[in-house]
Symmetry: C2
Subunit: 334 residues, 2 copies
DNA sequence: TTTAGCACTCAAAGAGAAAGACTGCTAAAA
DNA sequence: TTTTAGCAGTCTTTCTCTTTGAGTGCTAAA
């Protein structure tokens, strides 16, 4: 589709624009080494790149800015994935080696690290619990009327929830419940909590029937409760020239404020390990001037981490860093 | 100090400025009912109010704006505390009646409600655990090497933490530990965890000595871990004309991003139930254009809720709403 | 196919000029 | 003694006009 020289010029334009945030002129590109043509030649090429939709102008006599299509081409075909320095590697490694008690704590560290290294705002949601396998479920009596249910899943994740009762609870009831829930749920996915209980339970355990119902209700809440949200480096985005425009800044705040939307964003997409969404590819008015890159860690008890940056984000750096973090997590032992 | 008319004029000016965010002219005040003097008279009074430091001008021929001293006078002496409508009362009541399993969940609801009703950004931190009395402490074995400690305090708060071990743990060890920690801690404040253990423990329970050490370490982390932070209505602040100035917006973001500082703000001040901090009274460069009003709920298992708004915040409305929420919480049963 | 050169376009920045919202002050009125 | 009308003076805001400079597109020559 695009010949080699056009690709190289497009690449140079995106790289330049990522750095400067200013429309790129033919002159500045012709000065780059590796592209030793006069500005007039570059100008002709740029004009054609614009006709094919890879570049845009802000006004008749301005330089060029990459279009969404241009960024897409850059991300899919032109981007180099080794944009990470030795210092950064060292920094990331050290941070991710921090000892944690729960795998979810690692999410927090990874989110923070990603934001520190890339200087963009990072959002993450914890892993979804629904499809995880229950390894063990225990009940703890607190006081006389408060019960805590603690559930351990196959990925090593722990979920706990508190259930209040109107009447006193007795130790032998807890025994019964312990046996019941473990036999019912052990080895099954979290959402099998809703499978109907056999009838005999309600006849044989009549005295605890209400209690069992209440517990199931509350466990359901745990399944569908909002995922934990991690957010790092909001202020970093406010250093961007893009956010000097009040409207863009407002859009950005709206994105972050609307937690449900952020969760959807990171969660619902049928994304691969690393995915890039550019501008309005995500069909959200607030996001039209931003891009999102997500890293999925599901299955390893990690959730999804996302970076929100301007459309002219440093895709190369972000993806390189994400790949490296992914590699460290995969190697495990962390 | 200030005669009655001056006070009424100052009050009118603050009220007007809170509404419009524009410097207030003598003309606009003389039109207000209850102040039937000519603009010239008002002008003379305003000039004197400025000399005494209650008002400021933005330039020679501009209207007047309240100074920090002016706001302080307004808050301390002129403010009416019944600025709350029946609709608002109904709305708040309904929200706060939501059934919750933990008292801390009520914090979240209160924070959200406060932001909804006042249209300002609201921050809250959970109650401090340090001085609370331990009512019960239980240990739950998860898998073979993971232990969860669950602590119930006198305010009904529950704290849990996970501790990982390098070696397998046996049920009888848990028994021992249960007895030990309960006899040591029951009825004592949370931070007494650090009181030294009697020597005999380490001789008699030699096999578990390491385990006990690890547990104490981890419980210490729970005490001093960052308080939970609730944040609502960030985007509401971005509707303020004040935040159209890029610098003010940046300051605002910095305040919110710097979690440690927010915690200090809400926590360390020797504030009463409701306290008002105006502009640079808090000696923080970022806060110089903002005011903070805090509501302390400590002791009832609630933490501290704070509203961050512009200096020309609607003190009257915010305080009225806070008082009402405080009343509802005090009446308890919630 | 590439490039030099030049006309043309448009945004950004600055310089006046005009309008309008205030104040402060003075002198008269209450 | 207190209040007020009236007016000069100040400063911001807004508008228009001009200048500057960074770009492009096109043509004709290399």
């Amino acid at each position: 589709m695009l010949d080699d020289r056009k690709k190289r010029i497009l690449q140079a334009i995106v790289d330049e624009y990522v750095n400067t945030a200013e429309p790129v002129s033919s002159g500045s590109i012709s000065k780059k080494k590796g592209l030793d043509f006069s500005s007039a030649t570059i100008r002709n090429e740029m004009s054609e790149l614009e006709k094919s939709g890879y570049l845009e102008k802000t006004h008749t006599s301005s330089g060029r800015v990459p279009s969404a299509k241009g960024y897409r081409m850059y991300v899919d075909e032109l981007l180099k994935e080794d944009n990470i320095s030795l210092d950064e590697i060292k920094f990331i490694k050290e941070k991710l080696q921090t000892k944690v008690n729960q795998i979810e704590d690692l999410m927090k560290i990874a989110t923070n690290t990603l934001s520190e290294v890339t200087h963009y705002t990072t959002v993450a949601i914890g892993p979804k619990v629904t499809k995880q396998i229950i390894q063990e479920i225990k009940f703890v009596l607190l006081g006389n009327r408060m019960l805590m249910a603690v559930i351990l899943t196959n990925t090593g994740m722990v979920r706990e929830t508190i259930i209040n009762f109107e009447e006193d609870i007795y130790e032998d009831q807890i025994q019964t419940i312990n046996v019941l829930f473990n036999s019912k749920l052990k080895g099954k996915p979290f959402d099998s909590i809703n499978e109907p209980l056999e009838d005999f339970i309600f006849t044989e355990m009549e005295s605890s029937a209400n209690m069992i119902k209440t517990i199931i209700e509350q466990l359901n809440k745990v399944i569908y409760e909002e995922s934990k949200l991690y957010l790092e480096g909001t202020n970093k985005s406010f250093e961007l020239p893009e956010l000097e425009k009040a409207e863009t800044a407002k859009n950005f705040i709206n994105i972050l404020e609307n937690k449900a939307e952020v969760v959807d964003l990171l969660d619902n997409e049928i994304s691969k390990d690393i995915s890039v969404y550019i501008g309005d590819e995500l069909d959200d008015e607030n996001l039209k001037d931003f891009s999102i890159i997500t890293l999925k860690g599901e299955g390893k008890g990690m959730g999804t981490i996302g970076i929100i940056g301007p459309k002219r984000m440093n895709y190369s750096k972000v993806i390189s860093v994400m790949r490296y973090i992914q590699k460290l997590i995969d190697e495990g032992g962390l």
